[in-house]
């Protein structure tokens, strides 16, 4: 952290309608998503990502008030009619502006637009922000230096189902985190074997069915056990029949659970609170970590 507060500059987020009025087209359209637009916690991710876009000088735009839910929660809940209504509406908007390339920080929006819009007439190149951030780092546009140092801090990445198993993106978020020079640790259930945070499939909007535990608690316990390295805590976790290496124990202080999805963010944050570890363990999105490390998160 810099001792002298750096100068701040205001960012005016370019809106697609204004660009179109000037007959301009952006290089990428940043699809914010409902969580990114309304959820207080994920708004910080949206803002961090916009700071990065602004910092690297990408010509981007957002739909602003013209954006609407992709229909993902409706489709996963079985309401195909509502999904298609939303899809058609968004496709009309996107096609009207001649959008070619979309970047989004939400794996659910990413999956829906990338995989399910083409059959309804919406063909775009869709990129999740983890892949986009990885590209920026690889191209040297983001140095991940000059800001907060993550050296030596323990970070574990929680795979989002709709990024991982749904679309086989496992490496991009890990490469982004690797650039932070932190101490990355993998949960027992990771990548294709990752355990859901519990919010997918429209679970975000309903109470869980009766059971013995909430899914986000199970996952948070795994993340905390991995970060602390306590063998007995790791041994209690079910799910995969693999042996656990005997890890050393670590102080949880300063550890981070990294996510790349707004629902995972909510579920893991709730889990950390439930375990009363919010003073020690923070949940951050990839974009926030990169913006902090780059020193542009005002």
């Amino acid at each position: 952290m810099n001792p002298e507060a750096p100068a701040k500059k205001q960012i005016t987020v370019p809106v697609m309608a204004d660009l179109a009025a000037r007959n301009e087209s952006p290089e990428i359209l940043f699809w914010v998503g409902c969580a990114g637009a309304f959820d207080d916690r994920y708004k910080r991710v949206t803002r961090a990502f916009v700071r990065i876009l602004d910092h690297v000088g990408t010509k981007y735009a957002v739909l602003g008030l013209e954006e609407s839910c992709t229909g993902d929660p409706a489709k996963r809940a079985g309401n195909e009619f509502l999904f298609q209504m939303q899809a058609m509406q968004n496709i009309t908007t996107l096609n009207g502006y001649g959008i070619k390339k979309i970047v989004t920080a939400c794996p659910h929006c990413f999956n829906t637009i990338k995989n399910e819009y083409p059959a309804l007439g919406g063909d775009y190149e869709v990129i999740h922000h983890s892949t986009y951030l990885q590209q920026l780092i690889n191209e040297g546009k983001v140095g991940v230096t000059g800001g907060e140092s993550f050296k030596g801090r323990r970070i574990t990445f929680h795979d989002s189902c709709y990024l991982g198993r749904a679309n086989n993106i496992y490496e991009a978020p890990r490469e982004v985190l690797a650039a932070l020079d932190a101490d990355l640790v993998e949960m027992k259930r990771s990548r294709a074997n990752g355990l859901c945070c519990g919010a997918g499939g429209a679970q975000m909007w309903k109470e869980p069915e009766p059971g013995k535990k909430d899914i986000n608690i199970e996952r948070t316990e795994e993340a905390l056990a991995t970060l602390s390295g306590k063998a007995d805590a790791l041994a209690n976790l079910g799910g995969v029949e693999t042996e656990t290496a005997a890890p050393g124990t670590h102080d949880l202080q300063g550890s981070i659970i990294a996510v790349g999805c707004p629902f995972c963010m909510t579920m893991m944050s709730d889990g950390v609170k439930n375990k009363e570890q919010e003073a020690n363990v923070q949940v951050f999105d990839l974009a926030e970590l990169v913006a902090s490390a780059e020193g542009i998160n005002a």
Binding site: E67, P208, A298
Partner: protein, 483 residues
Amino acid sequence: MPSILRPQTFPPYLYRMLQSILFLLLLVAAFGLFAWQVRKIRANILVGRDRDMSGHSAERFRKTLLVAFGQQKMFKRMTPALLHLVVYVGFLVINIEVIEIVIDGLFGNIFGFHRALKFLGPVYDVLMATNEILAALVIVAVAAFWWRRNSNPPLKRFTGPELRMWPKLDANIILYIEVALMLALFFMNTADLKLHQMRGEDLPGTFPVSDLLVGLLPSSEGTLHVLERLGWWIHITGILLFLNYLPSSKHFHIIMAFPNVWYSRLVPQGQFSNVESITNEVKAMMDPSFVVPPAPTAPDGSALAPTPFGAKDVDDLPWTNLLNAYSCTECGRCTSVCPANLTGKLLSPRKIIMDTRDRMEEKYNSPLIFRPNVYGEEAKHEPTTDLANATLLRGKVTPEELWACTTCNACVESCPVNINPLESIIEMRRFLVLEESAAPNSLNVMFSNIENNGAPWAFSPSDRFNWADDLFAAEKPAKVAVT
């Protein structure tokens, strides 16, 4: 030939002919019965909704080679993968000997030869030796499988309400039959070997395991001949009976895994199917000039009953999902990684697949043995006696199970034969929501939020862009030159 089996009054060629005819009849009956059962199952699968799975042959071939033949997905868990590999390779290689048995059985008796493939010479030595070693390893692997299922407590994924009664018995029957077949093979070889040794003859082939067992058999040529014949007949009859047991059993996967992997989805796992009839309706709503294609008609031109949205019963599911049900070997990898099941919810992806097969056989054709699952007290619905109307949804699968799914694809990812339980879950959710308006109330609130606000939460659409207000970034200090 020993005299006890060849009464002097009975001409030898007649005795040999009789064995051949008997064998031919057995073979025809076994394959006939198997074909009859397979036809019934094929008809069951085809009651499913049409879905075009043609094309992409190269990719499908590659996938079948890797996942089905190569057992790629089994190797996520090493111990069962290696045990299973032994039984799988054993099955493939020992079947070469079965070809020999069939040739011997049909023609060997008549033309007076034995062990038809012996002309292969050294290759035959290697083949027989491999067979024997594999057969011994199969017994070891099967014993390990039995222990994993029947020890106290058994492996967790071999428990659960759907794995009691018939499915539990079925799993053990398969293991017992496999051991019996291997023992019959050893009986046959050991007796043959000893018979040749006693006569001072050389038996073609190398038999490393039977060599060790020779001492256990009596030294009477007559008895040895009976034992050899007994082993031969038990082995081949056992195989043919096992073949006809398959359609009633989870062991049918040894055949169905291949077509199932061939016809598995090639799109990303996150891509859910599209409902075309809804697309047409939505297009017509948004664009008045859009002409809705005419509904399909019956071959005689009469109107067909409209198909419901989603699935209430097995015939509402795509045929590939029904093929899934016949490919399932109830291993429970799906359920063991399901986040809902892990945290004590009712949902078990394996149960949904098993219920689908039970329901098909209840409503349509059943193979020789049909034992639908009985869940007893753990059934969350009223026990039904009205089987004809006990549809898959509600009759077997409850909404509580379906709503517990997070659509995380863990079950799909884990299945070694590419079964997709998630697709069936979504089809049934569609029926609940679109045909019965029976979504949980909180989800109905979410639906109306999307309809009214364009977001699943109750926020005003005019606040959607507020996140961009007062957005500042730290001015990035000038880069320090690296020396």
